[in-house]
């Protein structure tokens, strides 16, 4: 079955994709075609771009090879590639048709290396975010690219003096200045950029004075002012998306204008409001579809009654309670995504929501005090696809009224939810018995069950969930025999067994060998490349950091006191008392660390 799935994907790949794969097969293959200059010149852009980026991902691209692409590639995405330096830039400068250049996070890019893209008339989009060596001196080269429409230059070393000079790029539509010291003086200079539609100023030094100038941008539809000291926002009639997280706000969109912003996305994560009702008056919130109120200190949620188009509402870590939830229920009709994690809501809140949220697809109740009674209310939310109940006191069963003996399965109630495919029950009080009832939820694709109390019984029950593609059983007390007898569902793609400390290395290895298409996550498998891409991408630097981490771990005291040979784990846990098991838990870690750098069994090596 699994084999069939793979060849189906193989069969769907077209000849074009196969050719790109073959061309980027190895350094030798590249040598075979790189002299075909005339063919390369005729290569359609989308093919050239695809070949270019596949070579890049496989580590086969080097500066002198860039030359063959200078007539055909239009989009270059090198983000995060630290080895990109002045030599690369010199070749990229000769790309005659380059429209987009993404150098985000390329720490090798210096001011002088930007010289080669000076005056490049074809370039429309440039991303230099997190290029930490770029200063005002480097900006000179960027300013010469007069056709630039999109510029991302956040988290570089630019000063407000340098930022003022951006005013010469009059075609800019998108400008990302996040994390830069933009002040009110700089804003004064930038006022001439009247084409701006997108402006990111998070963490800048602008004050209300600078914010008042924002209405000089008539087309502005995206604005991020998070982490600034702005308290008053002028009316911005075109604004669609606003982020004022971590600010203290006195007023937004004040002014005489009758036209108010058609705001559809608002992010007020941890934002303090002077007057909530004023800030969120009806005409300001009536078009909202996305609202992020996470960590919000506000207690007055009356404005929610006006947000009738709301689809996505994040209330995590907010002051939402059972008493206020009817405000959410009243605008629940369009809700698709609701996050109530880490709030004071209980099952009572879900009782009020049930029946009012017919379109709700995703609900998070993580770390709330909901219990098994909530599951019957959840079963009345017909569109639910994703439910997060992690870190709650869900047990998976409840006692019928008046009886302390008559147990009834509560998870079975979720059977009504025909769309349910993702269920998170990590760190709940669900035990083997209740997990067995989960088998009734045949549509599940993702199941998270991290728990210290689940055993082989739970693992084996999962064989019947035929649609399961992801199974997380972190920390479970699984034995070697349990894993050996486990018949994974045909679609299973990932099996997360991290922290299942009773499993031996040989046992995990033989499971990996028997089911090569399942990605097993376990301490024994950690150091191995999960796929070819990782293998090719692993630089020496990457490896040292991993080693350092492991060394740091090994240094922790108390873990190496009791060291046992790995053969000992083959025994059943019945042989040990609880104290023994706890000791073993620590020793398995140190034992694993000792073994990591020695020879691995053949079964663990990727074929």
């Amino acid at each position: 079955m699994i084999g069939a799935g793979r060849s189906e994907a193989e069969g769907r790949r077209g000849l074009v994709d196969r050719c790109i794969d073959a061309a980027a097969g190895s350094a030798e293959s590249v040598e075979k075609w790189r002299r075909q200059r005339r063919t390369l010149e005729r290569l359609p852009t989308q093919l050239a771009d695809a070949l270019f980026h596949r070579l890049l991902r496989r580590g086969l691209l080097y500066p002198t090879l860039l030359e063959v692409f200078q007539h055909c590639v239009e989009e270059v995405d090198l983000h995060g590639e630290n080895y990109v330096d002045a030599e690369w830039m010199a070749y990229l400068g000769a790309f005659r048709y380059m429209r987009i250049l993404n150098l985000e996070g390329c720490r090798g890019i210096s001011n002088s290396s930007l010289w080669s893209i000076t005056g490049m008339t074809t370039l429309r989009e440039l991303d230099l975010s997190r290029c930490t060596r770029i200063t005002d001196a480097g900006l000179e080269h960027v300013l010469s690219i007069s056709n630039l429409e999109k510029l991302h230059i956040s988290e570089t070393k630019l000063t407000s003096e340098g930022i003022r000079r951006l005013s010469s790029l009059v075609n800019l539509r998108v400008l990302n200045l996040g994390g830069l010291p933009v002040n009110d003086q700089a804003m004064t200079s930038l006022q001439v950029l009247t084409q701006l539609e997108y402006l990111d100023l998070w963490g800048s030094k602008i004050t209300d004075q600078g914010a008042a100038m924002l209405n000089m941008f008539p087309k502005l539809n995206y604005l991020n002012l998070a982490w600034t000291s702005v308290t008053k926002l002028p009316n911005l009639p075109a604004l669609v998306c606003l982020n004022i997280s971590n600010c203290t706000i006195y007023s937004i969109f004040e002014g005489d204008d009758t036209v108010k912003a058609p705001l559809s996305k608002l992010f007020v994560h941890n934002t303090t409001f002077f007057d909530v009702d004023e800030a969120f008056s009806c005409e300001k919130v009536c078009y909202l579809s996305v609202l992020d109120l996470s960590y919000s200190p506000i207690c007055n949620f009356n404005f929610l009654a006006n947000t009738r188009l709301l689809e996505c509402l994040d209330l995590s870590f907010s002051q939402m309670t059972d008493g206020l939830i009817d405000l959410v229920a009243s605008v629940g009709f369009n809700l698709k995504d609701l996050n109530l994690s880490n709030t004071k809501v209980t099952s009572q809140a879900l009782c009020l929501l049930a029946g009012n949220v017919p379109n709700l697809e995703r609900l998070s109740l993580s770390k709330t005090s909901v219990d098994d009674a909530s599951l019957q209310y959840l079963s009345m939310m017909p569109s639910l696809r994703i439910i997060d109940l992690s870190k709650t006191s869900i047990k998976g069963f409840y006692y019928l009224e008046g009886s302390k003996l008559d147990k009834t399965s509560s998870v079975a109630l979720l059977q009504n939810l025909v769309h349910l495919e993702n269920l998170n029950l990590e760190e709940t009080q669900v035990r083997d018995e209740a997990v067995h009832d989960l088998v009734m939820l045949g549509g599940l694709k993702y199941l998270y069950l991290k728990s210290d109390f689940l055993s082989d019984i739970s693992l084996n029950a999962m064989s019947s969930l035929t649609n399961l593609t992801y199974l997380g059983l972190q920390g479970a007390v699984l034995t070697n025999q349990g894993l050996y007898l486990f018949r994974p569902p045909a679609q299973l793609h990932v099996l997360d067994l991290r922290g299942c400390w009773l499993l031996s290395m040989d046992n995990v290895a033989s499971f990996c060998k028997d089911f090569p298409l399942i990605e097993v996550k376990h301490e024994w498998v950690k150091t191995l490349p999960t796929d070819q891409n990782v293998q090719l991408g692993s630089s020496p630097m990457h490896r040292t950091t991993q080693e350092e981490k492991l060394k740091a771990k090994a240094k922790k005291p108390g873990q190496s006191q009791c060291r046992l040979k790995k053969d000992h784990f083959a025994d059943e846990r019945i042989k040990y008392s609880r104290e023994d098991l706890l000791e073993l838990q620590f020793s398995s870690l140190s034992d694993m660390l000792a073994n990591l750098h020695t020879v691995l069994p053949k079964g663990l090596m990727k074929e």
């Binding site: 069969g11 077209g14 000849l15 196969r18 050719c19 790109i20 061309a23 097969g25």
Partner: protein
């Protein structure tokens, strides 16, 4: 089998150099472009004669394309083999495949 029937079942693909490849219609239909040419309504010469000329595709590349058509049919019917592409022809084959929507 009458000649008319035979014409129905095969198509003639002609390379830039004028070399003719006669292949099963079913195989040629792996290419979305050829499928459109052969099934489009109206009196296009391609539809009528069952002949398609590719002035941009050289003989060796068209041969490889034809091989791919048959390999694709085999693969679809369950015979799993590798389709090997020589690195020397990858670029030209890529362009031809792109044009043919294969």
């Amino acid at each position: 089998m009458s000649p008319e029937m035979k014409k129905e079942e095969t198509v003639k693909l002609i390379s830039a150099e004028g070399f003719e490849f006669v292949v099963d219609k079913q195989a040629a239909m792996v290419s979305q472009t050829i499928r459109n040419m052969l099934t489009s309504p109206g009196n296009f010469s391609e539809t009528q004669l069952g002949e398609v000329t590719f002035p941009e595709i050289s003989t060796p590349i068209l041969e490889k394309i034809c091989q791919y058509f048959y390999w694709h049919l085999q693969f679809a019917s369950g015979k799993e083999t590798e389709f090997h592409i020589e690195p020397e022809i990858t670029l030209e084959l890529m362009m031809a495949a792109n044009y043919l929507h294969t």
